[in-house]
């Protein structure tokens, strides 16, 4: 490294620009189209999510946001389109993977919290068992490690540990969501998908769940995609928002930008209806 000679007196030093580095998106979807019979659920949807980012997806019921989330969790395959995750050892279109490969990929890299806890939890198994199931699928076979990791994940989700062996069916809705969250983060996934995580919860419980999510995002820098029809949730949680209507993305941008200055007529209606 050579020492730079000082600029002559009276002349401004040449401006040194830092070398610009770019980060590729962790999630890239291109041209996703999904039809169910005559109904087009998604049409030519593109989506990107960057590492550590929280992407919010809003839209009315039937706009395709949950279908898109299911695609991200590889639960469904579109008619056309590609899906790539920028993770070690992964390459190419993930929709080309078979069922087994998808399951292993999702178990290790993607966590999901469903709106309906019955979809995400085994109601008659213990809460810790629900968390352990994910670890078991990933190949963990030590009972002590399973127990410790389940306890750790439940604690991180602010679940009361004295109830860790209670069955989800015996728990309140907010508690069930926390168990789902613990299950989703147990393997420290690269991507956390949240499908209406606070819908159906009362306002105070909603606030607690959102606080937990924000703390997790802050502490662990988890990349999240959160689907909600509640603009308040998106405003609280997301960095960037994607507005969907009738299977298409009608507007996207930074949360403040979209909510303060909506460009599309539908987004304007949505924002004004909320506010």
């Amino acid at each position: 490294m050579t020492a730079q000679s000082p600029a002559p007196r009276g002349e401004a030093a040449p401006r040194q620009l830092p070398q610009l580095m770019t980060t590729p998106p962790i999630l890239t979807m291109r041209g996703i189209t999904r039809r169910f019979g005559k109904v087009t659920a998604l049409e030519d949807v593109d989506a990107t999510v960057y590492p550590g980012e929280v992407l919010g997806i809003v839209g009315e019921s039937g706009s395709g946001k949950s279908t898109l989330l299911r695609m991200m969790n590889l639960e469904d395959t579109p008619d056309t389109g590609t899906y790539e995750l920028d993770l070690p050892g992964l390459g190419g279109n993930l929709f080309g993977l078979d069922r087994f490969e998808r399951r292993m990929l999702c178990a290790r890299n993607i966590g999901i919290v469903y709106q309906n806890p019955h979809l995400g939890l085994l109601m008659r198994h213990s809460s810790s068992g629900n968390v352990a199931e994910r670890l078991l699928i990933a190949g963990e076979r030590s009972f002590k490690v399973l127990r410790d990791k389940a306890r750790e994940a439940l604690d991180a989700s602010e679940f009361p540990l004295e109830r860790m062996d209670a069955r989800p069916i015996e728990l309140s809705g907010g508690m069930q969501q926390r168990v789902q969250l613990a299950k989703a983060i147990a393997l420290e996934p690269a991507l956390l998908l949240l499908d209406e995580p606070t819908t159906g919860l009362d306002v105070s419980v909603q606030a607690l769940v959102l606080d937990t999510l924000k703390r997790l995002q802050r502490d662990r820098s988890i990349t999240m995609v959160i689907v909600s029809h509640d603009l308040g949730v998106i405003h609280t949680m997301a960095d960037r928002v994607m507005v969907m209507r009738r299977g298409r993305v009608v507007e996207q941008g930074l949360v403040d930008q979209v909510f303060q200055d909506p460009q599309h007529e539908y987004t304007q209606q949505l924002v004004h209806a909320k506010l």
Binding site: R99, F100, R103, L122, H125, S126, S128, G129, A132, E133, L136, I137, R141, S142, F143, K144, L146, D165
Partner: protein, 305 residues
């Protein structure tokens, strides 16, 4: 006038070994497939045989297919050779094939068994046929058979492990008794029929071929010789067998084998070795009869490597 005799065909003997040729071909093909993919359940066209479904029709069909005139069959019913069911099946097998019949494990070439593996080590030239009431290990966790088949295809056994986890959480120990789920050749989980946990390690790297067949459920699977059979256990929770290592048979004096408990009028229990002919041989030996030494899976209650 038409008589009954004129309407019926002259009596002819059944096919050799009772089953018709197409049934045997079906079974042979599925048995070969089962040997080729250890532990994988093969569906087959289960025929009617002259015992009721659930009484060993699966085992009986496999045995009938394997029989030849030089075979020697032994039939075990929960360890006993002398139960009505064992005696009837043994007699039937011998009658339809001309095969020899025996109580002695060492003499038999085909052993059909309900829920026990003999205490004597089986040889490479012997075949064990286990009767299976429910061949699907995933049924307790996944009642939908189509989904269960997909789970087998994906080696998706997380729910089975979860069942063991739940037992550890609730009871502090694995509560699975008979039919302990076991991984065969590192790939398929099978239920080793309701044999006690004592018997499961006997199937691991065994010299003999084992067929497991469920006639009512129309499925069979196999453990070929020298194949790994590993009970599902956590790495830090060892597999445990029944605590029979220090029990003594009140008839034969044998100690360290699987026992039947016989409640007594005074509230106590006495024990009798479950493998009945193994016990008989021990009695004969104690009475001075010169019998060839017997190699057993367990010695003094410890599994031999």
């Amino acid at each position: 006038m038409t008589s009954l005799a004129s309407l019926t065909k002259p009596w002819e003997a059944f096919s050799y070994g009772f089953l018709d040729a197409s049934a045997k071909r079906e079974l042979r093909r599925k048995m070969l497939k089962a040997v080729a993919v250890p532990g994988c359940q093969m569906p087959y066209a289960s025929r009617e045989v002259p015992i009721a479904r659930g009484w060993g029709t699966g085992g009986l069909q496999v045995t009938l297919t394997l029989l030849k005139p030089t075979s020697v069959v032994k039939v075990i019913d929960q360890g006993a050779d002398d139960s009505v069911n064992a005696a009837s099946i043994r007699k039937f097998l011998s009658r339809v094939s001309g095969a020899g019949k025996t109580w002695d494990t060492g003499e038999a070439t085909i052993l059909q068994s309900r829920h026990r593996v003999p205490e004597e080590v089986l040889r490479e030239d012997q075949i064990l046929v286990l009767q299976v009431p429910n061949p699907e290990p995933l049924r307790p966790v996944e009642p939908n058979m189509s989904v269960a088949r997909q789970m087998h295809a994906d080696a998706d056994y997380g729910r089975l492990w979860l069942t063991l986890y739940e037992q550890m959480v609730r009871s502090g120990r694995i509560m699975q008794g008979a039919a302990y789920p076991s991984l065969v050749n590192g790939r398929h989980v099978m239920t080793p029929s309701p044999i006690p946990r004592w018997d499961v390690p006997k199937l691991h790297m065994a010299r003999h071929l084992t067929f497991l067949s469920a006639g009512r459920e129309k499925r069979l699977y196999a453990v070929p010789p020298y194949t790994r059979v590993e009970p599902l256990v956590f790495s830090d929770v060892p597999y445990k067998v029944e605590e029979h290592h220090d029990l003594t048979c009140h008839r034969s004096g044998l100690t360290g084998y699987f026992m039947n408990e016989i409640p007594q009028n005074d509230g106590s229990s006495s024990f009798e070795v479950s493998d009945s002919h193994f016990g008989i041989k021990a009695i004969r030996r104690s009475e001075g009869e010169a019998l060839a030494p017997i190699d057993t899976w367990y010695k003094n209650g410890e599994l031999q490597p």
